[in-house]
């Protein structure tokens, strides 16, 4: 280009200056980017898209760098973390002070609840096939947490000793008083009725993706909570799985639905599960017929991996009741490479 400019009568010094200016302008027009994800494969759902700007409740706005977890496993079509079972050590023993005796931890009387007519409750697809998890101190159920905050009742998954993955709308949203962050966040791993086997933890911060915070873009409806404790060492963690095509995979959805009551009548305190197959995969969402009700936002849609590890990993974060062109399928935010990278960054953040 320099020679071309000189040939066209521009003095060498000026031509050189123009080239420098041009190069500087082009380079300057590119925003600083994190190191691209290591995976070069780019099938649908886990392409090389870098995570968006991440927004923290303490005011930080961070362009995440790539963090490769020490336990990352390469699969035939992506990457995953295997999670871990943790020690399982209980914080509260049944019958200890402030905890219910063993007999009160038994399942609630669900005979009047299961299979009842759910007219108008359209996130239950057909007959309600949810069943109560009564063994919430077993892995992976103990790694699933009940979340309460000023925004409401949600569910989440331990993904590190002190990090919980959940839906973005559980952490930041507009429910009538303008867009706000959730405050007074409490997390109860493996809660079952009034029994809280691992106690509860508060939050140091919450974080969501910029497109959720800016415009409530449902493709970016995910977030994380940094706890003020390390209870994940006890409860264990769920892995995260980037899958190119999880349609047809048998998965389970865990959560704390608000329509279910424990023996004392408290609602949204018991853990429930439904197992079914993934029906449809969009670029950033998975659609499935698993039954669920309000309170199960943020819960894991997970599967049992048996080829590269014997482990449990989430492929989606449950988020939305059915809507749009698929009125009979619930929705979750897909664990894409971008979501995976954001989660790893949050795990590494303090």
């Amino acid at each position: 280009m320099l020679q071309a400019l000189i040939r066209h009568g521009i003095r060498p010094f000026r031509a050189f200056g123009l080239c420098l200016l041009l190069i500087a302008t082009v380079v300057g027009s590119r925003p600083a980017r994190a190191q691209p994800p290591a995976s070069s494969a780019s099938p649908q759902g886990h392409g090389p898209e870098a995570p968006p700007l991440l927004i923290f409740s303490d005011g930080r706005r961070v362009r995440p760098i790539k963090v490769v977890p020490h336990d990352e496993i390469a699969t035939s079509d992506g990457v995953m973390t295997p999670g871990s079972a943790g020690t399982g050590t209980l914080i509260h023993i049944p019958g200890s002070p402030d905890q219910p005796p063993v007999e009160d931890i038994a399942p609630a009387d669900v005979s009047k609840m299961d299979g009842q007519d759910q007219v108008g409750i359209t996130a239950v697809i057909g007959t309600d096939s949810r069943t109560q998890v009564t063994t919430t101190t077993q892995y992976p159920y103990r790694a699933v947490v009940r979340i309460t905050s000023t925004i409401g009742l949600c569910t989440g998954s331990m993904i590190s000793a002190n990090t919980v993955a959940t839906a973005g709308h559980c952490l930041y949203g507009d429910y009538g008083a303008g867009p706000v962050w959730a405050t007074n966040i409490r997390v109860y791993p493996g809660q079952s009725g009034s029994y809280q086997p691992y106690g509860s933890c508060g939050a140091k911060w919450a974080a969501v993706a910029s497109p959720w915070q800016q415009s409530f873009n449902k493709d970016y409806d995910y977030g994380a909570i940094k706890l003020d404790c390390s209870i994940g060492s006890n409860t264990g963690t769920l892995g995260l799985r980037v899958a190119s095509n999880p349609v047809g995979w048998t998965t389970s959805l865990l959560g704390y639905p608000g329509d279910k009551a424990d023996q004392t009548g408290s609602k949204g305190t018991t853990q429930w599960i439904d197992t079914n197959t993934i029906s449809k995969a969009l670029t950033n969402q998975l659609l499935y017929p698993h039954d669920m009700i309000s309170g199960q936002s943020g819960g894991p849609v997970y599967y049992r991996e048996s080829s590269v590890c014997s482990c449990y990993a989430a492929v989606a974060i449950n988020t939305w009741n059915p809507y749009g062109t698929d009125p009979n399928l619930n929705r979750g935010t897909r664990i894409t490479q971008s979501v995976y990278d954001a989660m790893q960054f949050w795990i590494s953040s303090n």
Binding site: L5, H8, G9, I10, L18, L22, T25, V26, G28, S29, R30, P31, P52, L53, I55, R61, V119, G120, I121, T122, A123, T148, I151, G152, L153, C154, A167, H169, D174, Y175, G176, P179, S210, P211, Q213, Q214, S215, F216, K218, D221, G258, D259, A261, S266, K267, G268, I293, S294, G295, Q296, S297, G298, N318, T319, W320, N321, P322, Y323, P327, N330
Partner: protein, 122 residues
């Protein structure tokens, strides 16, 4: 003449690239400065109280919402009542079923409307 037109092309090119460069901004940064999401869906507000039959407010009760016919997207969270048993939920205009436990009530919510739905939880 020829060198003059090359100069003009260069000037225009630099100007265009500069404009592109100036326009490159991290997604949503502008909106972030005001802290206001840009969603513009017409919404209404459902509010109410959850009490016992004796009128005693019930705190920490999840109130759920579902779109009738699934025409509107509704997040799968439960709004929790405060210490006075009150809840609010801003939703896109449409028909909804609101739930407290297995008690359900329907509402046809219009844009800009505030509807009160109280629940008695025995």
């Amino acid at each position: 003449m020829q060198s003059s037109s090359v100069r003009w092309v260069i000037v225009v090119l630099i100007g265009a690239l500069s404009l592109i460069g100036c326009g490159t901004q991290e997604p949503g940064t502008r909106a972030a400065s005001s802290g206001q999401p840009t969603a513009t869906t017409a919404t209404g507000l459902v509010q109410g109280r959850v009490t016992t039959a004796a009128g005693v407010p019930i705190a920490e009760v999840p109130v759920g919402a579902q779109s009738v016919g699934n025409t509107q997207p509704v997040p799968a969270l439960g709004r929790l009542t405060d210490q006075e048993g009150r809840y609010t939920w801003q939703l896109p205009a449409g028909n909804y079923v609101l739930m407290v436990g297995t008690i359900t009530k329907t509402v046809d919510l219009q844009a800009g409307q505030t509807v009160t739905l109280d629940f008695v939880d025995p």
